[in-house]
Amino acid sequence: MTFANEPILELRRAWVRDGLRDALTALDRELPLDVPVLVGGDARRAPSLDSTDPGRPDRVVARATVATADDVEAAIAAARRGQPAWAARGARERADVLVRAAALLRDRRPRLTALAVRECAKPWAEADADVCEAIDFLEYYARDAVALDDGEDLLQPPGERNAMTYRPRGIAAVIAPWNFPVAIACGMTAGALVTGNAALLKPAEQSPGCALELVSALHEAGVPPDVLALLPGEGDVGAALVRHPAVHVVAFTGSSAVGREILREAGTVRDEDLHLTHVVAEMGGKNCIVVDADADLDDAVPAIAYSAFGFAGQKCSACSRVLVHEGIADTLVERLGGLLDTLVVDQAERFGVDVPPVIEAASQERLERHVAAAAQAGATVRRGAAGPGGGWFVAPTLITGADPGSPVAREELFGPVVVVEAVPSVDAACDVLDTLPVALTGGLFSRNPDVVRRVSARVPVGNLYLNRHITGAMVGRQPFGGNRLSGTGTKAGGPGYLRHFVESYVVCENTMRHGLVV
């Protein structure tokens, strides 16, 4: 059966919106969710870590029990116990389990979507896309794992039988972010599980509720309790997992700072170690959109706005810098600046919202610091609506005239803030991209096929989008992952991703015996 993306909701239909409103009302009655530590089928409940609605921080969405060092040890022990049998079940059976989990998530789409709206302030369209992507990961990796199980075709000269197959690494620690609270946690966990590993999931402290729904669905679908643990908590839980000598592979998506720490820690080989710790890391970017003089600004301006301000700029793929040809820079700035006034800055649950609140107070403070520093350094700052009071809202912001070497121009902002800078040519824009240490996504607006070809061949980014917005990679359509310091070069939702969760085994048999090929 071929893979097809889960259809997203048609929010332009009133009855679809009514269904989601009902789901949110039903969910609200259940809040807060109780998120236990789940290890080996046991649930330990001593809630102490709250996730709250970023738009109304007095609303507690989930109360999570924080995993202790003992929980981590127990989870490792359970994984050691259960993993060999899980591996022995074979790829096809594990794939069936994933497909069942996908079906469960599909049944629960409205509820899960509502939860992502509440817990992470994802607007409906973004929350829906998040849940669909989770389903896509399950369905896509299920098919890919079956194909991987066939092994590779090798040369087979007479007298020799060669085979190359894959086996799970063993135990995977999955450290997931809050910005795609269902999809990314699901993708990394599914990749580990379907290839026969045990998975220990440490969700972001901001989104334990979404993680619980995911883990529950996987368990219900048939993932044995021993091979999938839920370990809520903060950074120390993740650090304990990364340090643990029994962990074979760490799958991480998150900030560059944490990613580097993981790579350092995982790179330390102790005398008693029996394996290297393999790291799959997806980190940040400084994603730029390049706009050539022949671009159609009718398309480019809305696409930049959506890439920079959608979900308040909190996607790894979001645009935070625009490099525009000086011939049309003034027009672009005028139109993008005017567009700021049209952005709906409001609660995520409001249909039609453009800019929801950012995830937490610390993000709000960090972004305001960046904007203030740029203004102080002489840059021109233009801002849209501030949003309603009470939540962690940040007004969408356009900065021009910033020093190209300043923090706003070089650092990932992860908020609704974009810097626009005029450049003399597309090639000069490419030179700028070359100086950046990160290379996740990028965009180009040009209507000259020669320029499109030249830029596509040259820029270092892992995902380049031509004449469209630069967010919203789809499983099986745009395998996603960055180059340079943006990650370890893996492409989530694409061919080759599962290889990171397995080791390769080559067996060569001599079939010549007494001069006879047997």
Binding site: R12, A14, A125, D294
Partner: protein, 454 residues
């Protein structure tokens, strides 16, 4: 709502006779040599999809090229996607790449594009277009003016578009007052019809259309549209609100029906909406409009312009990418059949006393003949049916219709070339689509088969 029954078989002979008679009234190619030559080129382009794509992309980018050399370079770049065996591509590539020849090639291309644009776009400004509108009027062809513009992404752009509409109403009202009387064009059985007719786009009146909450766009566009409705009422002009893609449909319908129901617009202006027959739920929309017309007492009946729909590729691609059931019929014949069903529904409602007027906007002789024959079968006078064509595509057709004493209106875009490109490309695509009535006819298809029920 729309009856599912096919056109009454008894009507078929009338439809065929009307179609033949209209066809015979088409002016020959000799009267419009350039248009005829362009039609020939576009008919050939339909068979060379890569070249067609390259040339359309060139037309699209032309206004953004600052020098002829830049346009030449674009031409060369675009032609490199065309199969190497195509001679036009080979020559164009060589000339467009050469340092000496690129500017000249660009200049030639620019002239060609300007000429083509001139066929579809009346003028840059309403004042400059007024003469042509008066000529059309004298020849028995009314008009609806559409102001082309860049996409509206800021409030200032929405204000500017509204101001241009306001100005166009003023200029056209002044001009039209001097036009001679044209009894066929100025009244139907429901009463007088304004000479000045302006088509407006809601997506240009607000930058805030959000498909997940139509009320946001309605609230933002309402003050601007209300102002234009007042101006049209005071000047005695007709205001027609165009429809675009599904992303804005609910916003547009809600906005127009809400505003027109307001007390201050009870006495006017004459106004209209558009119904797209390619949408598979168009019968529900028709029912909603008819229900509104029954409920809301207004002095002049609501005009419903029935079209097939100009965003078919867009709707289909968006649906495919999102995993949705396409909102449009996937075959031309299904759309044509639905067009006829809706024609009968709306004419039936009109004959039954629902205060609506029908404008059938199609270049398909079968669709037009069907509407006329059905209207006559309901004993409606011909003047109760308006026929609309697009400037540049339907010029021969409007002459043929006027020659038959039918009430015809040409949709006339006005605006500069930069703003007109999106419009121009859509029209060119339409003209070279393999299954369009005009292309089929231009390629010499048998008239009787074209007049057969879809």
């Amino acid at each position: 709502m729309a009856t599912d029954a096919p056109a009454p078989p008894a009507l078929e002979p009338d439809i065929r006779a009307l179609g033949r008679s209209l066809d015979a009234a088409f002016p020959g190619a000799a009267r419009r040599p350039r248009a005829a030559a362009e039609d020939l080129v576009t008919a050939r382009l339909a068979r060379r999809p890569e070249l067609r794509a390259a040339l359309f992309r060139l037309v699209d980018v032309a206004p953004a090229c600052r020098t002829p050399a830049e346009l030449g370079e674009h031409l060369a770049g675009l032609l490199s996607d065309v199969p190497p065996e195509d001679p036009a591509a080979r020559v164009g590539r060589r000339l467009g790449r050469g340092r000496a020849t690129a500017p000249l090639t660009g200049r030639v291309a620019a002239v060609g594009i300007r000429q083509m644009a001139g066929r579809f776009i009346l003028a840059e400004h309403p004042q400059e277009g007024a003469g042509t509108l008066a000529d059309l009027w004298r020849r028995g062809v009314a008009s609806s003016v559409d102001l082309l513009g860049e996409a509206t992404v800021t409030p200032a752009e929405a204000d500017r578009y509204a101001a241009r509409c306001d100005e166009a109403l003023t200029v056209l009202s002044r001009e039209a007052s001097a036009w001679p009387a044209q009894p066929i064009l100025e009244a139907d059985s429901a009463g007088p019809l304004p000479r000045v007719n302006l088509s407006v786009k809601v997506t240009a009146l607000t930058p805030m259309i959000r498909e997940a909450d139509p009320s946001i766009g309605v609230a933002d566009a309402a003050p601007r549209l209300r102002h234009l409705l007042r101006r049209a009422r005071d000047l005695g002009a007709h205001l027609h609100v165009d429809i675009e893609s599904m992303a804005s449909r609910e916003t547009i319908m809600r906005l127009v029906l809400e505003l027109l129901a307001e007390d201050e617009f009870r006495a006017g202006p004459s106004a209209g909406v558009v119904l797209q027959a390619y949408l598979s739920d168009s019968d529900e929309v028709a029912a909603e409009i008819l229900d509104w017309a029954e409920r809301v007492p207004r002095e002049s009946p609501l005009t419903i312009r029935l079209v097939k729909g100009a965003y078919w590729d867009h709707e289909l691609v968006e649906a495919r990418q999102s995993g949705w059931r396409p909102p449009v019929y996937e075959t031309k014949a299904d759309t044509d059949r639905n067009f006829e069903r809706l024609t009968r529904t709306l004419l039936g409602a009109h004959a039954g006393g629902t205060p609506i007027r029908l404008a059938v906007a199609s270049h398909n002789l079968r669709s037009i003949a069907h509407a006329l024959a059905y209207a006559r079968s309901l004993a409606l006078p011909d003047r109760d049916l308006e026929l609309q064509v697009l400037r540049g595509l339907g010029d021969d057709l409007h002459d043929a219709l006027a020659a038959h004493g039918l009430r015809v209106r040409a949709y006339c875009p006005i605006g500069d070339l930069v703003a007109g490109m999106a419009y121009l490309v859509r029209r060119l695509l339409e003209n070279t689509a393999n299954d369009s009535f005009l292309a089929t006819r231009a390629s010499g298809a048998d008239l009787d088969s074209l007049l057969t029920a879809p």
